[in-house]
């Protein structure tokens, strides 16, 4: 068990294994994305009240899910680094922070686009939107903090602590924002009709959620691989890798 754990913690092992799985994951992601998008945009029925504009949920909802899940991925990676001092975990965390921030921004952005035809305005101080905004702030804090340190190990520890503090605070923040919203705006607007959705609308959404989870995993792995190469650039195995890649490039260019 422990040998397996430590082998998993080896950046080199991760790089080589993920390299084998990567093409399959990429194909799966692409297939799911194409199916989900076509199904959602072309075949799902139009919404009775919102018309075609509701179709943005096929991006908005999966992205919102991942924005929150991504924070936990980041925090767990940070905790693993903090407790077991596994460098790979810190690399995953480094890769997850900007990715999560981008997804959160995308969730806010698609929400704003959706809001314009639905409520006639891009921005509403709604509980979910506000929570999403706070989540974006939490992500930005981690990203900015990491970039401020000159020492990488220290940056990793500091960011891990911040992410963990953020994690235990997220439920409190979300609940307080919910409370605040019901206080100021008695529930007149119901944001999304997700639970009462028609199955024909819901099935493509499920496909899209699955597609975005795969997409998240794919991008996270790619980012982590880049981070591994960058940090391990002085090691022998990365140099060997670079030499062999170079040889392949030369070979193919010679053939042409």
């Amino acid at each position: 068990m422990w040998r397996w754990f430590h082998r998993l913690g080896s950046p080199r092992w991760f790089y080589q294994t993920s390299g084998r799985w990567l093409p399959w994951l990429a194909v799966l992601t692409l297939a799911l994305l194409v199916i989900g998008t076509l199904w959602g945009l072309a075949f799902a029925p139009e919404d009775a009240r919102q018309g075609n504009s509701f179709r943005i949920i096929y991006i908005h909802v999966p992205v919102s899910f991942l924005a929150l899940a991504g924070y936990y991925v980041m925090a767990v990676a940070g905790a693993v680094n903090l407790i077991w001092r596994i460098k790979l975990a810190d690399m995953v965390m480094t890769a997850a922070a900007p990715l999560g921030a981008a997804l959160t921004f995308l969730a806010l952005f698609t929400g704003a686009i959706w809001g314009k035809p639905t409520w006639g305005t891009y921005w509403v101080w709604d509980a979910r939107i506000t929570s999403m905004l706070v989540l974006l702030f939490l992500y930005l804090g981690v990203v900015v903090l990491r970039n401020s340190f000159s020492g990488r190990d220290t940056a990793g520890k500091a960011c891990a602590i911040l992410a963990l503090v953020g994690t235990v605070n997220i439920p409190i923040i979300y609940k307080s924002v919910d409370w605040w919203f019901t206080l100021h705006q008695p529930a007149t607007i119901k944001l999304s009709g997700a639970p009462s959705m028609h199955p024909d609308m819901f099935k493509p959404l499920l496909v899209m959620i699955l597609a975005y989870y795969c997409f998240y995993a794919l991008v996270l792995i790619l980012n982590t691989r880049t981070e591994i190469l960058h940090r391990e650039r002085r090691t022998a195995w990365v140099n060997d890798l670079a030499v062999s890649e170079l040889a392949v490039t030369e070979l193919t260019s010679n053939e042409q």
């Binding site: 804090g141 340190f149 206080l183």
Partner: protein
């Protein structure tokens, strides 16, 4: 131990010494609390800065939005809370900065006393010299912003817990950024999201009382957030200091 000390040095040369007994943990807490209060007293010129900031910026609000009493009294609860947040946040930056610069922070970290307790002493001192004055000055600002009479008691009670929570969370940020040169702005960025619940419950409590309701629920929730911060912050701050001190 005391016996070993009393024997002449020549007789017990190169003899294994007994370890000293540990001090009770409260000693360090009292020592650091006293020290920081004394330091604040020595720098009493700077002591008033957050308070003056708090009052001056609040005075800007009527200038910016106009002197209509109805408008001001509607804005008052929220504005006073935002200003109290900013006043505490600005001073959080200095919580560990000077200790880091003169090497005393290192002494705290390697002291046999539990670090979280020493950190709690520093946070308590910080609250006593920033949060408490702001809390006590808040009624004056309430007058300036035409806060309805019913709101004062709730405002002071809420601010007492709220500014303490600000100090507690601010300490985590201050510890994480202690070795960074431009820590001040960064500190605000990383702790601001943690302040949302405090601001929500605090200003809602005042608003409710002003509107003729009861402030019990939001004040209780504010107290819960404060208790949570009190549990979390000393340990998180201690861990952050151990990590952050190495730049």
């Amino acid at each position: 131990m005391t016996e070993a000390l009393r024997t002449p040095a020549s007789q017990q040369a190169v003899q294994e010494r007994l370890p000293p007994e540990l001090l009770p943990p409260g000693e360090g807490f009292v020592g650091i609390l006293k020290r920081d209060l004394l330091l604040a007293f020595r720098h009493r010129g700077e002591l008033a800065n957050p308070l003056i900031f708090f009052i001056m910026v609040t005075a800007l609000i009527p200038i910016a939005v106009g002197p209509q009493k109805a408008l001001l009294s509607q804005l008052a609860p929220g504005m006073i809370w935002v200003m109290a947040l900013l006043g505490t946040l600005l001073s959080s930056d200095s919580l560990f900065q000077s200790d880091y610069a003169d090497g005393t922070l290192e002494q705290l970290i390697i002291s046999p006393q539990p670090l979280w307790l020493l950190v709690l002493a520093k946070i308590s001192a910080h609250w006593l010299v920033t949060g408490l004055p702001i809390t006590l000055a808040a009624p004056i600002l309430g007058l300036m912003l035409a806060l309805p009479e019913a709101g004062y008691a709730t405002l002071v009670l809420g601010l007492a817990m709220g500014t303490a929570t600000f100090s507690l969370f601010g300490a985590i940020g201050a510890a994480l950024t202690v070795a960074l040169r431009k820590g001040g702005v960064l500190l605000s960025l990383i702790v601001m999201p943690l302040y949302f619940p405090v601001l929500i419950f605090g200003s809602a409590a005042v608003q409710r009382v002003v509107d003729g309701g009861s402030a019990g629920a939001p004040l209780a929730l504010l107290g819960a957030v404060f208790a949570f911060a009190l549990l979390l912050s000393p340990f998180a701050t201690a861990a952050s200091l151990r990590a952050g001190i190495n730049g």
